[in-house]
Amino acid sequence: MLLARARNGDQHAFAVLVERYGDMVVSLCFASTLNTADAEELTQDVFLAAWRGLPHFRGDAAFSTWLFRLARNACIDRSRRNATRPRSVAIDDMTGAASPAIDDAARLTAQRIMQLAGTLSVPLREAVLLRDLQGLSYEEIAAMQEVPIGTVRSRIATARSSIATALDES
């Protein structure tokens, strides 16, 4: 009903969909960009594309599947544009917003791990950040990446392993 109303141009219905899926889409966009401002802007772009594309959405797949596909494509387009016009990627320093009870050593380690996550391939980075930073379940990550859960398990394990090895070597 909500989707049908949104397809008919009901912006209030679409706003509910935006609220419902906003966290997941911004999570995916942040895992790709590692920058909160970029992730929010990209998420807005995704929902704008969804709003304009809704009249053409046939319903062959679930709305969430279609939306996550739009988000992944937007992230890919953004990273390609950044690759051809290199710019310094501002990985958020998120340690400032971490709990004050966390000691400085833990903050530095967390920031270092974020930087190392930035060196991973996008699928691995997405999987581990969606799990450990954003708190999504394996099922949710599988739906967002449109891969089997086994692939998600493998990606998360490989990402953690790579980061752990890099930390040991540094």
């Binding site: 906003g22 911004v26 992730a39 998420t43 971490a98 974020m114 799990r131 450990d132 930073l133 752990a164």
Partner: protein, 154 residues
């Protein structure tokens, strides 16, 4: 059990193993210092990320998104380079079909001027492409006119 793989340890950390597998890995970790050490390393990675604040979508972000949805799509402000080139060539082809070669040259000159008036106002972003189109027109058009004029005289 041989050493636990990183995938088994990662799934163990996340509670993704079956009860039987979980018990097997737990028993192995209790007796294998190397795997226990590796397990701790992977736990540290996961735990370090979990102390950072998750990125969250806000009601303000939803409102801003809906506001953007209410704006009409931005009209295409620039004609594609392909369309420009096709227009320029079509105009010049028509000019080159003139029966005399002087008349053809004059037509080409008029066409080039008209093309410039169409092309140049598109702004600095398309300026370089527009200049190339104009230059190509200036070189190719007289050649086309000469060829057609010679063919017409025979």
């Amino acid at each position: 059990m041989s050493h636990a793989s990183d995938q088994q340890l990662s799934m163990f950390i996340d509670g993704e193993l079956s009860a039987t597998s979980r018990a097997t890995v737990a028993a192995h970790l209790a007796g294998c210092p190397a795997c226990a050490e590796r397990h701790e390393r992977l736990v540290d990675v996961a735990a370090s990320l979990r102390i950072l604040p998750a990125v969250r979508w806000t009601p303000a972000a939803t409102a801003a998104t809906i506001e953007r949805c209410q704006q009409p799509p931005v009209a295409a402000g620039r004609v594609s380079r392909g369309v420009l080139a096709a227009l320029a060539l079509a105009v010049l082809a028509a000019a080159a079909l003139s029966t005399t070669w002087l008349s053809a040259l004059l037509s080409i000159a008029r066409s080039a001027a008209a093309t410039a008036l169409v092309v140049l106002p598109l702004g600095p972003a398309g300026g370089a492409a527009n200049l190339w189109i104009l230059l190509a027109t200036a070189i190719l058009a007289p050649l086309a006119a000469l060829t057609l004029a010679r063919g017409h005289r025979r």
